[in-house]
């Protein structure tokens, strides 16, 4: 079964090729079959491999399949090779499995779009590139996938390219992530400089012998890799692109900008755990970036009116939790939250897409309302996803994954009380804006008639994902609640287990109860403010301070405003000043000089042979004189 590993990324790439070449000719029906089928086959093989991985793990809990040599130049050797261990297994499973449901959903969501086959071609290319990213056994292959998913993200954000705003959002996403990618490339150069290899396993096994803990190179290269991760995963300070990325079709937001691509940064850091452990400073940086991001994005989420932007900010915030977990050394907790988050966030986006379809493509949730009766399946699944996102205690998967992170933020090897406080506060904020969204969208009066009732192609993905968003958490229960460690046991072969820290059971219970109570309280506050007594909110926002605060939060805490002044305007000013390109003066001067010589020597070209003879004789005389004199 393991030998079929190469087929997993091959099917999506094949699907992309077929759709890209024949997409226009084969029509929508066949395009859908190819687009969904390729991911379906890929998911099927991944699940079969996963079952074998669980029952009959390969030697050393890792399987490497080398296909061919990509680059071989002296001691620089890069293979096209796939590395399958517990970590890449989880990521590949989520990418193909969640990806499959989203593809199935897209067949209905995009049904009336003229770019139907183009959409599926991009989506297939994305899945293929993402699989390259998570399964590549060397950093160069990982980087190839990394750039591949970035390209697909760009193409899909700007999918409806006729609207210039979408093109702007796409370019913004591409350029902002490029900043991180440049840092990451430099980081890769430093790793190659230190280890003379880009093979991930080789680097991880050699690193402790080459670098002592706290080595400057280790800190620098891990911080640069963090830069790449921050760009791709939309963390502070490069988080500005993700809310704008919602310009793309909703399935794209679900697959790329929520479930998979934006978690590539989490994968990168988890994958390179060995070198991060050698750089405590970088670990702290990861944790602080995560904690700061989850708060900033949470605050921004509280004031959004566009349903997709609420979800976008919640994605940024939840990835902040994952970074926090990685930073404090709770590796498997971070990956666990990634998996659960992929389920419930994909679910939320798909349900939001169904709502948007049903409401004449309106995205402002304050213009919706009372949809609970009209769209029961969407409502219940959305509620499940929201409960999971808000970490409703005991019954949802999100509770178990987020609770683990919150607890480790305190008790983990790098944990501290401040990180814990940020995480708890973030959880409260999350519960508030999530249920604000639920109450505003589904309760109250219905303000618009339903323009489209979803069919089974929407309902089945929603129900399937809701199942996992609800029950996916039961494979890993905290020590105080049953102590089940199936997931972390599985990850043990790929990621270091949590060591050190302190483990007082009473504190853990305190943390859990506090989180649970705060979540419930925030839900009640959201209920009270946005359903029961909306007057309070309108009164507050009509005051000068309230209005200012609302605008500040709505703009994502003014980061766009800041970057506009810090980077864009100086750059525009510089390019305007330098319109004539002063370096170009030198290059204009060279042809000018050549032309002047040309004009000068032109006069010797008379066409009279006698003159030429005189010239030749003169030249000969000069040469002879020089020879004689010297």
């Amino acid at each position: 079964m393991y030998d079929l590993l190469w087929l997993v990324p091959t099917f999506p790439f094949l699907g992309f090729l077929i759709l890209a070449i024949f997409g226009k000719k084969i029509g929508k029906k066949l395009s859908a079959v190819v687009g969904v089928g390729s991911i379906g086959l890929s998911a099927l093989i991944t699940i079969l491999i996963g079952i074998q991985f669980l029952t009959n793990p390969p030697e050393g809990h890792a399987f490497v399949q080398t296909l061919w040599t990509w680059i071989a130049a002296d001691d620089f050797k890069v293979n096209i090779a796939f590395h399958l261990d517990a970590l890449s297994m989880v990521f590949a499973f989520v990418v193909t499995f969640v990806g499959f449901w989203i593809h199935l959903y897209s067949t209905e969501y995009m049904a009336d779009d003229e770019g139907f086959s183009r959409f599926f071609a991009y989506m297939n290319l994305f899945v293929g590139a993402m699989l390259m990213l998570v399964m590549g056994d060397n950093l160069l292959l990982l980087y190839l996938g990394w750039e591949g998913v970035g390209l697909c993200s760009y193409l899909l954000i700007g999918f409806w390219y006729r609207d210039p705003a979408n093109g702007y959002a796409a370019r913004k996403a591409f350029i902002v992530t490029r900043v991180g990618d440049a840092a990451m490339a430099v980081g890769l150069f430093m790793l190659f400089y230190s280890f003379k290899s880009l093979n991930i396993q080789e680097i991880l096994s050699v690193a402790p012998h080459v670098w002592s803990p706290g080595n400057k190179l280790a800190v620098a290269s891990t911080l640069l890799l963090l830069g790449g991760a921050v760009g791709k995963s939309a963390q502070l300070p490069l988080q500005v692109w993700l809310p704008d990325a919602m310009a793309g079709p909703t399935p794209t937001s679900a697959l790329i900008h929520a479930a998979t691509m934006v978690t590539a940064g989490v994968y990168l850091i988890a994958r390179m755990n060995g070198i991060y452990l050698l750089a405590p400073l970088s670990m702290t940086a990861v944790a602080i970036v995560g904690a700061a991001t989850l708060l900033v994005a949470g605050f921004a989420g509280m004031a959004q009116t566009d349903i997709k932007r609420v979800l976008a900010y919640s994605t940024v915030s939840q990835i902040g939790y994952m970074f926090l977990a990685l930073g404090v050394g709770a590796w498997s907790a971070g990956v666990f939250h990634f998996m659960i988050h992929a389920f419930f966030k994909a679910l939320l986006f798909l349900a939001a897409g169904a709502i948007i379809l049903a409401q004449h493509h309106e995205q402002n949730m304050f213009k919706m309302g009372g949809l609970a009766k009209a769209l029961p399946v969407t409502f219940w699944t959305f509620l499940i996803g929201s409960a999971s996102l808000a970490a409703l205690p005991l019954i949802t998967a999100g509770f178990y994954s987020k609770d683990a992170i919150i607890w480790y933020a305190w008790s983990g090897p790098n944990g501290s009380i401040y990180l814990w406080m940020a995480a708890v506060f973030g959880a409260m904020v999350t519960a508030f804006y999530t249920f604000r969204m639920v109450f505003v969208t589904f309760f109250g009066e219905q303000k618009m008639e339903i323009s489209h009732y979803p069919t089974w192609r929407v309902h089945i993905p929603l129900i399937a994902l809701a199942f996992f968003a609800l029950f996916g958490g039961f494979i890993e229960l905290p020590g105080t609640l049953g102590h089940l460690t199936l997931f972390s046991d599985f990850m043990k072969s790929a990621l270091p287990v949590v060591e050190g820290g302190h483990h007082e059971v009473s504190l853990e219970i305190f943390s859990q109860v506090l989180t649970a109570v705060l979540a419930l309280v925030s839900i009640f506050v959201a209920y009270y403010l946005y359903l029961k007594n909306m007057q309070i909110v309108t009164n507050f926002t009509s005051t000068k301070f309230g209005h200012g605060l609302q605008q500040f939060l709505l703009s994502g805490l003014g980061f766009d405003w800041l970057y506009e002044r810090l980077f864009i305007r100086p750059y525009v000013w510089l390019s305007r000043t330098n319109k004539r390109d002063f370096i170009d003066f030198f290059y204009v001067f060279l042809p000018w000089l050549a032309r002047q010589f040309h004009y000068l020597f032109k006069y010797t070209q008379t066409g009279k042979v006698r003159r030429y003879v005189v010239g030749i004789v003169f030249g000969v005389l000069v040469s002879i004189t020089i020879v004689v004199i010297l």
Binding site: R610, V613, V614, V617
Partner: protein, 99 residues
């Protein structure tokens, strides 16, 4: 027979050569330019003959025969060209301008 030294011979040859060269440079009539070129060729041939005599070898004279042959071929082509010019331009030879 009076033996002429190599030095004297080469001086004569170079005088001839420069005579021809100056002829090429200052003459406007193509006929005279052709004659001047012949003089230059003969100067080179003369230098070969002197050098061969100096070393007591026949090579110089053989080279002169070569030059003579080349000169004959060149004159044949050159004269043919001049006649063509004349026929096309319908001017007397002394008046032909240098192309």
């Amino acid at each position: 027979m009076i033996a002429i030294s190599l030095n004297t011979g080469l001086i004569i040859a170079s005088i001839m050569f420069f005579t021809g060269l100056i002829g090429v440079m200052i003459r406007k009539n193509i006929m005279f330019m052709l004659i001047s070129i012949e003089i230059m060729l003969n100067a080179a041939g003369l230098a070969f003959v002197f050098a061969g005599a100096q070393h007591g070898q026949a090579d110089g004279q053989i080279m002169f025969l070569f030059i003579l042959t080349t000169a004959a071929a060149e004159v044949a082509v050159g004269l043919a060209l001049i006649i063509q010019f004349y026929q096309n331009l319908k001017r007397s030879i002394p008046m032909l301008p240098i192309i």
